[in-house]
Symmetry: C2
């Protein structure tokens, strides 16, 4: 494998030239039937319609060359096979494999990386037993009753992915089972969640790879105290998901401990035990397996080297076209599915923590833009909120729309001759077209310039299987972009400085409480800020 | 009042020059105590610390000049007094007053606009009676029981603001009262909310100014059907908030109807009956009044013409500095308060729908950037998600941090010598400093360039009063920016095109169902898209 700087790729020069005159989507005739039918791709159960991107054959050809020059698919396959890709060449770095795909590569006789898959299978088998014990009344609460709620305590990757998937799949939860999440160190987060819960029938699933995450340990402490205050035994209610041998891998403190491994980054861990325990609890073991099947299918589809047949790769390259060549700073992900309400928040981590980097794979400052700001809310809600700016603002925002032909619940009714689901989908298509086409008008305030690029990702129905595919689609898209930008998408050094400064300020607070000497000099900005904020 | 184009202001030329060499926040000595104590402002119960913005005395002076040249405060006062500011000069436009401030200008003997305030007082008096009737058992369900839940059905401004305030103030809800929200036309939204509810004890509050919002009417229809299916009388459960005389202002269909007025835009309507009915139900009438008191206090504080003493004005101008002069496309609003989880989503509407415009107040295309993309999630959660990009990404994201000295619940515990609330605040201060200061490092991947502008907005505790102040602070900030950019922040023509196209596609769907002729030509992009998406 070669690691070539993005700016030096031949195709990048070609694309720069092409970006001077991108295809115009605005006005009559810009979207003929053959364009709309020609620019569509399928992977697993998803279709991508991308005629409403500012691309033509030349751009697509050059984007394919970019993917090839950067060896995006080759690196993706190497990643799945256990190559050590979480590195910065020539500098101290995490130096790890990147094997979240192994968690779902559990359906084949010849997995890409047998060792990691074997470890995943061990954890899955333990989860299956644990869930069966809950079903069979072997594991019950102090009064012999079944558990009905699981609280997942984690933050970042130990929270956002599982939470997004839980919301996405609530429809499929088993009767009498639900889940809650506590993440924030803000004590009001735990206070509010705990206010509405019968702790005696609650399992608490504490998730931290290192077993030392500040927020998670603090919240665990708070919850343990609450169990004791209610006369319950925390050891009968609290389980952990953590690295093997971490301080949280302790059978004397936890009802059970499941393992996660160094080669799975937090933001890619939703299909490991990090998501598995809570999702298995609410969906049942088979439901969680379905999610893995869908993710695995997309991991296989993403090995296709022709970007016209590989949605994750195609979306990665269209994103690069919009961000690096057309110059748009952000990306809106707008699901027309209320169940996906927390999916954009998960993507914010998965994408921005992966690709918000300034140093190349080789340790040099990058001379090109890396990851965009990713944001979004479900439609149609957003239409009545920020779409004004999408249509008529001075910031151009590329959009990835997501929709499903069928609703989850199937509870619908006709109003004025159409169902709610039809109204939802009519709006989805209409927004895509309106952003692209625009509209002239004699009143300047009612004119739309159009040419606002977007694509439509459409699936049949949001189920555990398609949710898994959608998750993997985005994970793989993000990896492809990182390979093209020639950055390390798998570390997160940028979170360290804030942590260190917080520790210093905390020791100042703690010192105050104990009347001790302070760690910081009186003219340190930390001290001035504490005083100005009147926190000292 | 004069409406001068932003690009022609004298101060804009000055600021362009100053932007070539903005103050550097990075490195040792850039944040001395006198800078941190010097750059702070107070309005109502909030403090703004803004030493971590890339500004100096010259920039502040020029920003003050900009505010003065644009007559920002003068126009704000005119707005409060009922001037017709929702216009595009020389073109057909909404031609309305902008009087959301009148909803809370109800505590003085000489309100700024007596007529609108009189109307607000009438609605408040009706709300007070309605809530008292609920308390006194005059209004009960079919079995004579009290109502325990209110579902608000609305979308956009009829949903986001009230929802954000409800989440922000859950701590203050009356025992045995809660609220839910249904907005999306996605039938799964209603299905999921209704799945967990005892309809017999539920009031449904349908909110639509026009009385004709597609999503809202559809969801109302769905809910009416459900009441009937459960043998309940919808007329005893459903109330409306709507324009006087709208199709929803109908005593034969609704238990009660409260009114909203044309001079209050949806996104500014949270302190009108749009928020008042549901918030009054959960907080009690006095709780809602407290919210109004806080908002009113901030409306008065925003009349100060010295930006160093007027936080909404100062934040508006700092935003313009970052967006127009330093060139940053987005703004992250990051509350260190879990209760504010939906506040950024509300701001997305309030800000982006107001200021996502391309036409000046005088109907000319703008030659400058208007509103940025606004996004955000609560801290500390975000620290474990997208902060990597904030610290080390190639997109620079200005940040508005929000925090409170005290928690809402006061349920806290010491872990390692400090409380959760202290940990929360230590992280808040640390992030502000880390983004500004950066840090050199021999390992390029562990280096932080710093110079990422941000400010800290700090209040004592999030209560109904301070929530009201915070809401008004942002509403007023947004209005000030619109006045400076010389745009109309109070219309939303950009949402119309998508609506019209959706209607055409829907009639195509409806025609299919009925076997009728289609409205659209066979080669219309709508038809091609329906076919490509396999929805036809």
């Amino acid at each position: 494998m070669e690691f070539k700087d993005f700016a030096n790729l031949q195709s990048v020069q070609t694309l720069r030239k092409l970006a001077a005159t991108p295809y115009s989507l605005a006005g009559r005739g810009a979207l003929p039937p053959e364009r709309i039918s020609g620019y569509q791709a399928s992977s697993c159960d998803f279709d991508l319609l991308y005629a409403t991107q500012r691309i033509d054959e030349q751009v697509l050809t050059a984007l394919q060359e970019l993917a090839d020059e950067a060896e995006a698919v080759k690196k993706f396959k190497a990643m799945k096979s256990g190559e050590v890709l979480n590195t910065i060449i020539g500098h101290e770095s995490e130096d790890r494999q990147v094997l979240h795909t192994a968690c779902r590569d559990v359906f084949s006789d010849s997995p890409c990386e047998p060792q990691a898959t074997a470890q995943a299978l061990v954890q899955l088998a333990r989860l299956k037993t644990f869930l069966a014990d809950l079903d069979n009344g072997i594991l019950t609460n102090e009064q012999g009753k079944n558990f009905s709620t699981m609280i997942q305590v984690g933050i970042g990757g130990s929270d956002l992915g599982p939470r997004a998937l839980y919301h996405g799949l609530k429809r499929f939860c088993r009767q009498g089972r639900d889940a809650c999440f506590i993440a924030n160190v803000d004590p009001d987060d735990a206070a509010e969640v705990l206010a509405g819960i019968d702790l005696s029938r609650t399992l608490v699933n504490v998730v931290s790879k290192s077993g030392s995450t500040l927020e998670t340990l603090t919240n665990e402490g708070l919850i343990r105290q609450r169990f004791i205050a209610e006369g319950l035994d925390p050891g009968k209610h609290i389980l952990s998901v953590t690295g093997e041998g971490s301080p949280m891998d302790d059978p004397t403190k936890y009802l059970a401990s499941f393992h996660m491994y160094d080669y799975i980054g937090g933001r890619y861990s939703a299909t490991s035990m990090v998501g598995g325990v809570t999702l298995g609890f609410v969906l049942g073991y088979e439901g969680f397996l379905e999610l893995l099947r869908g993710a695995n299918a997309m991991d296989i589809a993403a090995e296709e080297s022709d970007l016209r047949k590989n949605i994750p790769l195609l979306m990665a390259l269209l994103g690069i076209w919009n961000h690096n060549f057309l110059g748009f700073a952000t990306l809106a992900v707008l699901p027309y599915s209320q169940a996906l309400i927390r999916f954009p928040a998960h993507l914010q981590q998965c994408d921005m923590e992966s690709n918000g980097k300034s140093i190349s794979k080789c340790g040099n400052p990058v001379a090109w833009q890396t990851g965009p700001v990713v944001w979004g809310e479900p439609g149609t809600n957003g239409q009545h909120a920020f779409y004004q700016l999408l249509h008529q603002g001075t910031e151009i925002v590329p959009v990835e729309f997501i929709g499903f032909r069928e609703s989850q619940y199937g509870e619908d009714m006709l109003v004025e001759g159409t169902s709610s689901q039809q109204k939802l989908l009519a709006n989805l298509l209409a927004q895509s077209l309106a952003l692209a086409s625009g509209q002239e008008h004699a009143n300047p305030n009612k004119a739309f310039s159009g040419n606002r690029p977007n694509s439509l990702l459409i699936g049949e129905r949001l189920t555990p299987y398609t949710m898994g595919s959608l998750l993997a689609l985005y994970e793989n898209k993000i990896a492809f972009q990182g390979f093209c930008w020639n950055i390390n998408s798998f570390d997160q050094e940028g979170v360290q400085l804030g942590k260190r400064m917080a520790t210093r300020i905390l020791s100042e607070f703690a010192g105050k409480e104990n009347g001790q000497m302070k760690d910081l000099l009186q003219d340190a900005p930390e001290i001035s800020l504490i005083q100005a904020a009147r926190l000292g």
